[in-house]
């Protein structure tokens, strides 16, 4: 190797406290260094030209630049050496500005340190290998998991960008939590009027292939090349034939089925279509409630169906699709509110969740939009809202703020007044958290315009008294006990990570936090990426958020997918790990620790060997530090390179 070393003055930035010429002289006696020179501003046009000329004239095969931090100009100089015909990875930098001249006062000491850093860079460069990026073909199709508002947005934006989309939704209809809402804050516009058309767009878009009532069975492969197995759960109705006419739901004799869509606020038939705007608008039989499927005699729906769509023999089936990227938009669950025994949650029929209340408010809900108490159907006059049920409460393992409850509680207080003008709403709160466009004004309107009475404090207990509920709490602002008699108590239940999130995360090989929310690539700079290449996040699966934020993330994830798959082939950074199969003994330790699932097990003539999927490898080197025999080496950060750097420092 013929190494050229270029020591930068950086004007006086380096030269003021480092004897640059002395560093140049020292560099000349370093191994394989055939040329060493100083340069006023190496990154300037003439500075870069000098490097190019030296490469050509002196036949240099490697270059060291000692100047500023590689985090600044490494890409610049890599391009420089590449222009002169060198491989861009035959280049190393010594950081003698940020790490030397700017932080040390003693010129002699700085100079000695600079020499060491240059020597280290030379020793590392001697072991650098030519690296050539690989191109891997990619399937230009994206899988969107979850058909809530975030998933819908991601799917539509991807389709709009010309990408084929496979959407998988576990419920019989897409729409998610938003489809259950009556109105949305702070505009109080109709939720289904906003969402409905977008759901229809999904159904009608030719690029979007929708699999409702389906789950992800498994995912293998890697960025650009995921193989997805989707399990389509048995609906007992051939959806290709079902027209969604709803005749079967009228005739079904089993009418006591739990109504999931209405959060149990009503009952439904064994064969049902969850709600009128459902997409796809197809019937599904709940096997447990169906008389025939639970062993009895019936068959009414099959008889009545004009298109012979009912098929009691249907089984779960699996299909496979190939996609290039995945957007996880699996939303959230409401936390288990029954842990709040002191509120009578789950015991008193008139203590309900905010989402159940939404269904009571909704014109498409079980009460046709009339607020009626579950216990006796009476219209409540005194409604108490309790906030932070399952939020900001370490005692139930939910120390975080769910973020949206303050807002929807205010909205529900407003809607209560709209529905029942002579009603009174009370809101127990801890703090009102309403940052956001028009949000704080909205909570104020609830109080000032709609006369909702906000009481700062926690409720200690709720108990029945006649047909009323007594709510006991404390008003911390005035420091007094408060006791209210309510007709209806609405708990602003917080959200939590979807119950199946960890399982899905393992299938996707992405991380999740202690609560089960998926981990983004970087909390600030990579909010929708994950550390697994080709897997993105949208909506509340990453952390609870309101509709606008979810939609924004859906669009952001779509932008990432479109960017990733804008070409047929993906270029992979060649600074990845590689396995020396001659040395690998197949102990799988590297596979276990790789945070990205970038190492797989392959069978090589009967022997197990590890293999790095270059496209997935992010170059962290954890595997290299794990492999006991050093069979896995991270390019440009090999054991030998680090050891050479150590020796270079320690020998001097």
């Amino acid at each position: 190797m013929k190494i050229g070393v270029f020591i930068c003055h950086c004007g006086s930035n380096i030269a003021a406290t480092v004897d640059v010429l002395k560093v140049v002289e020292s560099a000349k006696s370093m191994p394989e260094v055939v040329y060493a020179v100083n340069s006023m501003y190496t990154c300037s046009e003439p500075g870069q030209q000098a490097i190019e000329e030296a490469i050509k004239e002196r036949g240099l095969t490697g270059v060291v630049v000692a100047s500023c931090t590689p985090r600044m100009h490494e890409p610049t100089f890599r391009r420089t050496v590449e222009r002169a015909g060198l491989n861009r990875y035959m280049f190393e930098m010594a950081n003698i500005r940020e790490h030397v001249s700017w932080v040390g006062k003693d010129k002699a000491a700085n100079t000695a340190k600079a020499v060491d850093l240059v020597r280290m860079a030379v020793e590392k460069l001697r072991l650098d290998k030519v690296l050539i990026p690989k191109f891997i073909p990619a399937t230009r199709k994206v899988l969107v998991i979850g058909g809530g508002v975030a998933g819908i947005q991601a799917a539509l934006d991807c389709a709009e960008g010309g990408m084929d989309v496979v959407m998988v939704e576990s419920e019989p209809s897409i729409g998610g939590k938003m489809s259950k809402l009556d109105k949305t804050f702070p505009t109080v516009d109709c939720s289904s009027c906003v969402l409905g058309p977008r759901m229809v767009d999904v159904a009608q878009n030719e690029r979007i292939e929708l699999h409702a009532y389906s789950e992800i069975a498994s995912i293998s492969g890697y960025v650009g090349n995921f193989d997805v197995t989707i399990r389509k759960k048995a609906t007992y109705v051939d959806w290709d034939k079902c027209t969604g006419c709803g005749l079967c739901t009228e005739k079904c004799p089993s009418k006591k089925s739990y109504d999931r869509f209405n959060e149990g606020m009503g009952e439904t038939t064994a064969i049902n279509i969850p709600f009128p705007q459902a997409i796809p608008k197809k019937a599904t039989i709940t096997a447990a409630s169906c008389r025939l499927l639970s062993g009895g005699k019936c068959g009414v729906c099959a008889k009545i169906c004009t298109s012979q769509a009912v098929d009691y023999t249907q089984k779960d089936r699996e299909i496979t699709v190939k996609v290039g990227a995945v957007v996880a938009a699996t939303g959230y669950d409401l936390m288990d509110w029954t842990v709040y025994g002191e509120y009578g949650a789950g015991r008193y029929p008139d203590v309900i969740t905010s989402l159940q209340y939404e269904r009571l408010l909704s014109a498409s809900g079980p009460t046709g939009g009339h607020i009626r108490r579950p216990s006796d159907g009476r219209e409540p006059k005194e409604v108490v809202f309790i906030q932070c049920v399952g939020s900001r409460d370490p005692s139930v393992g939910r120390p975080y703020c769910s973020g949206f409850c303050c807002m929807y509680t205010a909205k529900q207080a407003i809607l209560t007044k709209d529905h029942i003008p002579d009603s009174r709403s009370y809101v127990f709160y801890m703090d009102i958290r309403s940052p956001g466009k028009g949000y704080d004004e909205f909570t104020r309107r609830a109080q000032e315009e709609y006369k909702a009475q906000y009481i700062r404090g926690r409720v200690s207990t709720v108990y029945p008294k006649g047909d009323k509920l007594v709510v006991k709490g404390v008003d911390t602002l005035v420091g007094e006990q408060v006791e209210l008699e309510a007709d209806l108590v609405v708990l602003a239940v917080g959200g939590e990570a979807s119950q199946n999130a960890p399982k899905l995360a393992e299938k996707l090989r992405i991380s999740y936090d202690g609560y089960g929310f998926f981990m983004e690539g970087h909390p600030k700079l990579k909010p929708v990426e994950t550390n697994t290449a080709g897997v993105y996040l949208a909506g509340s699966c990453q952390g609870l958020k309101d509709i606008p934020s979810s939609v924004a993330q859906g669009s952001a994830a779509a932008a990432k997918v479109l960017g990733l798959l804008s070409k047929d082939k993906l270029e992979s950074d060649p600074q990845t790990a590689g396995v020396d199969v001659k040395r690998c003994v197949g102990c799988r330790k590297c596979i276990n620790v790789c945070p990205f699932g970038a190492i797989r097990e392959v069978d090589m003539r009967g022997q197990i060997k590890a293999e790095v999927i270059e496209a997935v490898c992010q170059g962290c080197g954890l595997c290299t530090a794990t492999c006991p025999q050093g069979a896995v080496q991270l390019s440009h950060f090999t054991d030998n390179q680090v050891l050479a750097e150590v020796e270079a420092l320690c020998q001097s």
Binding site: R583, V585, C587, K589, N592, V593, G630, T638, D639, N640
Partner: protein
């Protein structure tokens, strides 16, 4: 029926379904047992047919399992050996279903260095011409001389702190497993070293390691060193140590070995037993074993479902005070 007769019966019953059963047979002299690979019923005759019997069953036979993977084999194990098997299974280095594990209630195994140390000054174990166990003593002949040693005094240190005298897992067991003894490993060996000053400790290692001949018996005797044939000790890529006769590099290899075993070592002590130069190499591994127990409450080789602690993590570590410094 004596334990070793029961074991023979189990081995004979096991043989038809396996490639071989690995056990202990006679070694080069009265004090030595040696691994024996029983393939035919007549091979079973020599099983434990040595003056020391089960007390001379020192070799950890789990060592041979990874190289035999793909074949079904039987193996007779002491409690400590079974821990190696558990660890190998936990790390998926062998398949549980390929091994028929035959356990017995181990009462401890001999430590030959202790026997030699117990002999009169100037005498060595190689002079022993005969041996017999009578009750709780080992009677040795050195030519015409007779010497008696208490079994308890020549038992390996690992046996005195053993919590698993019966097999942790087994498919067949001879006799009845006794109750796990209530012993605590106090790491007295480490404490003795730590009673020295730092300088003395360093000199200790310099002196001990200077005897190393780089034969790598320590590595090759370790049941968990499955990459021994591709070991960094002989590789240039990576090039951790030179091939020079350097004490520094010899010690470096021991540190590498111990580091690779951190959270995996079951403390079987075969590394130290195998060392022809008598270097106490197990100390370094036990240093990590103690550390791993303190930090993670983990003992290797007890649970086939466990993940070695250095191959996993917790977001919040209960026993790591990472911010103690800065």
């Amino acid at each position: 029926m004596a334990i070793h007769e029961q074991l023979k019966k189990i081995i004979l019953d096991t043989l038809p379904g396996v490639e071989c059963v690995i056990g202990w047979g006679p070694g080069q002299d009265a004090l030595h047992g040696s691994p024996v690979f029983m393939r035919k019923p007549e091979d079973v005759d020599s099983f434990m047919d040595t003056p020391l019997g089960a007390f001379g069953a020192v070799n950890n036979l789990a060592l041979f399992l990874p190289e035999l993977s793909g074949k079904k084999v039987g193996v007779v194990v002491k409690g400590c050996d079974s821990r190696s098997i558990v660890q190998l299974v936990a790390e998926k280095l062998i398949k549980r279903e390929e091994v028929v594990i035959i356990g017995f209630p181990c009462e401890g195994a001999a430590d030959l260095t202790k026997i030699e140390k117990a002999l009169p000054e100037g005498r060595e174990a190689g002079e022993v011409t005969g041996a017999a166990i009578v009750g709780e003593t080992l009677k040795l002949s050195l030519g015409s001389e007779e010497i008696s040693l208490g079994l308890a005094d020549i038992k390996a240190d690992k046996c005195t702190r053993c919590k698993t005298p019966g097999a942790v897992i087994s498919d067949a067991f001879a006799g009845i497993a006794g109750k796990a003894p209530e012993v605590r490993d106090e790491y007295a060996d480490l404490a003795a070293l730590e009673a020295m000053s730092l300088d003395e400790r360093f000199k200790f290692w310099e002196r001990e390691m200077s005897r190393c001949i780089r034969c790598y018996a320590c590595r090759n005797a370790c049941p968990l060193c499955v990459c021994r044939d591709h070991c960094v000790a002989g590789s240039r890529s990576p090039h951790w140590i030179t091939q020079t006769d350097s004490t520094r590099d010899k010690l470096m290899f021991q540190i590498i070995h111990a580091t690779h075993l951190a959270g995996r070592c079951t403390g079987c002590g075969e590394c130290q037993r195998a060392c022809p130069a008598g270097i106490p190499v197990l100390l370094l591994k036990r240093t990590f074993n103690r550390g791993v127990a303190e930090i993670f409450g983990y003992d290797a080789g007890m649970d086939t479902e466990a993940t070695p602690p250095l191959l996993t993590f917790q977001v919040e570590e209960a026993h790591i005070k990472e911010r103690e410094w800065q």
